[in-house]
């Protein structure tokens, strides 16, 4: 077992280093924080309320746009350069390769969200925010990012073209996000089934401070599904 852990550590540090030594991670973080900072300031001065609901909603949309940028190259690039062959013929498991890429991408998102803590801290200094929705909002964003990264990885594992991976991920993310709009047009019971699959319908309770076990389960299932689909996509060769 110690052998497997060693190779996983090697993979994880390689992926983290690759993401943080490229400009991609920094571009994603900087763009995210700039836009968030802008809306945070604007809504704060207009609404004059110590709440982050608007910001969280916008952060979620930003994730739909930025996660494909993070995940598009993860497998597509290895496949194009042939290094995937090097990884998969070495004594490590496919799931280790997938998990290393997943965790490294999550590290970028965590770094981004940690830096964005400056907004709630500002609110705390100058006002009296309700911390409940802040905690649950951050948790919701993390879960959403996890699900998007896992699905984005699976899509990246299917192609050797980064742009194709990015475009398909982007399309799928927005479709999943807006699924509730389609659901409301359908007759019962299909309306509820479709609405239940909508990312935005599942995320909204987190942003308003209510956490349901079913929403947790939904995001965790999506993460599991994405990771397993990535392993399957790698096995298909």
């Amino acid at each position: 077992m110690s052998l497997v852990r060693g190779s996983f550590k090697a993979l994880l540090s390689k992926e983290t280093k690759a993401l943080f030594s490229s400009t991609i991670a920094y571009a994603v973080i900087v763009v995210f924080l700039l836009l968030m900072g802008y809306s945070f300031t604007a809504t704060l001065f207009i609404n004059k309320s110590a709440s982050l609901i608007h910001i969280f909603h916008q952060a979620a949309i930003m994730m739909l746009l930025l996660v494909p940028v993070l995940t598009m190259r993860l497998f597509a690039e290895e496949r194009r350069a042939g290094t995937l062959e090097l990884l998969l013929t070495s004594p490590c498991r496919e799931i280790e390769v997938v998990l290393a890429k997943f965790l490294a991408s999550m590290a970028v998102i965590v770094a981004m969200l940690v830096l964005s803590l400056s907004y709630p801290i500002t609110l705390e200094v100058f006002g009296d925010p309700d911390w409940g929705p802040v905690y649950s909002g951050y948790l919701g964003l993390l879960l959403l990012a996890g699900a998007l990264i896992a699905i984005g990885l699976a899509i990246s594992a299917l192609t050797s073209n980064q742009i194709v991976a990015a475009v398909i991920s982007l399309g799928l993310f927005f479709l999943l996000w807006m699924l509730h709009a389609l659901g409301s047009l359908l007759p019962s019971p299909f309306d509820n089934i479709i609405i239940d699959l909508s990312l935005s319908a599942r995320l909204t309770p987190f942003l308003t401070g209510s956490m349901y076990l079913s929403d947790f389960g939904f995001f965790l299932s999506l993460i599991m599904f994405g990771l397993l689909a990535s392993v399957r996509a790698l096995a298909r060769r």
Binding site: L3, V4, G6, S7, K9, A10, L11, K14, A18, S21, S22, A81, G82, T83, L84, E85, L86, L87, L88, T89, S90, P91, C92, R93, R237
Partner: protein, 313 residues
């Protein structure tokens, strides 16, 4: 001692197309087996099955006694693999890459540092170790990819077309390296170039269209051989003349009609190389054109062309 590689009825099929068709062979410890075949004959697919990158449609493969499917980790732990396209992480430094590949194979701490040093020395990487992989020349890239395969001292080294895209001096270096490595480990090497395989392998397997046509040992071939290109009135006439020269034991035309200018290639088995002069004189007196004559190690060319012609026809 158990063979290091056992391929048993390996078959790989994509849809209806069979890329590898019921191939069986063994490689014993210390052997250098050359897989020889034209492009598209299934060489790379066989290597990818042995390294666990592809799964065979049917059949079984063992590496160092481990089934590559059911005990993939153990099998892959014992193989160093050099893919044909020289895939490298161009964002890494040479040392960083070798260290990463060593850790991936379970090496840690001091053992890892020693292993990376040893592999770098074996491939004479020298100062290049501190360079970014993106800055390396083709020759050094090839060295780095071989070094990573050796980093954990595998039992089996698999090289896919290791001399492709190298300049003549680098080709000789890689050949020398394979020869020196063959004293320590078992090697499986592919090429579509006959001369490459002849120079490094102790045994050769000839492949065409996914099938194994022949398996031949290169060490136990009889006497010295001459390879001739002769232009004559007919292949039969040339052959009769050659067979009549004293000292020529066997003569065989390699490709009766395939050279464009009407000449043909012949391989002669002779008692000793001095017979070459008599052969030249005999041909000249019969007014046949001797275009080329040289010593050759094996009659592999005849075997190869004979087998592949027969199948193509």
């Amino acid at each position: 001692m158990a063979p290091v590689v056992v391929a048993d009825q390996l078959t790989k099929q994509y849809g209806r197309h069979r890329v590898v068709d019921k191939i069986s062979f063994e490689v014993n410890a210390g052997d250098v087996l050359g897989l020889l075949g034209p492009n598209g004959s299934g060489k790379t697919t066989i290597l990818r099955i042995l390294t666990g990158y592809l799964q065979a449609t049917s059949g079984r493969a063992l590496v160092a006694g481990f089934d590559v499917v059911t005990h993939g980790l153990e099998a892959r732990q014992r193989v160093g693999y050099v893919p044909e396209d020289v895939p490298l992480y161009s964002n890494m430094f040479v040392d960083e890459f070798l260290t990463f590949m060593g850790r991936l194979r379970g090496l840690e701490g001091k053992a890892l540092a020693i292993a990376v040093d040893r592999a770098s020395e074996q491939l004479s990487l020298g100062d290049v170790r501190r360079l970014s992989i993106a800055k390396l020349s083709r020759g050094y890239r090839q060295r780095v990819i071989i070094a990573q395969a050796l980093v954990n001292q595998p039992e089996l080294l698999i090289l896919d077309e290791p001399t492709n895209g190298l300049d003549p001096r680098q080709i000789i270096e890689v050949r020398e390296l394979i020869r020196s490595l063959s004293e320590q480990l078992t090697i499986l090497v592919t090429s579509h170039i006959l001369g490459e395989i002849e120079r490094v392998a102790s045994r050769v397997a000839i492949l065409l269209d996914g099938r194994l046509l022949a398996m031949r040992s290169l060490n136990q071939d009889g006497g010295p051989k001459l390879r001739l290109i002769v232009r004559g009135s007919s292949v039969e006439a040339v052959q009769t003349l050659l067979a009549a020269v004293p000292g020529v034991m066997t003569s065989s035309p390699v490709n009766p009609n395939s050279l464009d200018d009407g000449s043909s290639v012949y391989i002669l088995e002779v008692v000793d190389l001095a017979v070459a002069e008599d052969v030249a004189r005999a041909l000249a007196s019969a007014n046949f054109g001797l275009l080329e004559m040289k010593e050759t190690r094996t009659d592999l060319e005849g075997l190869f062309l004979g087998l592949t012609d027969g199948v193509a026809a």
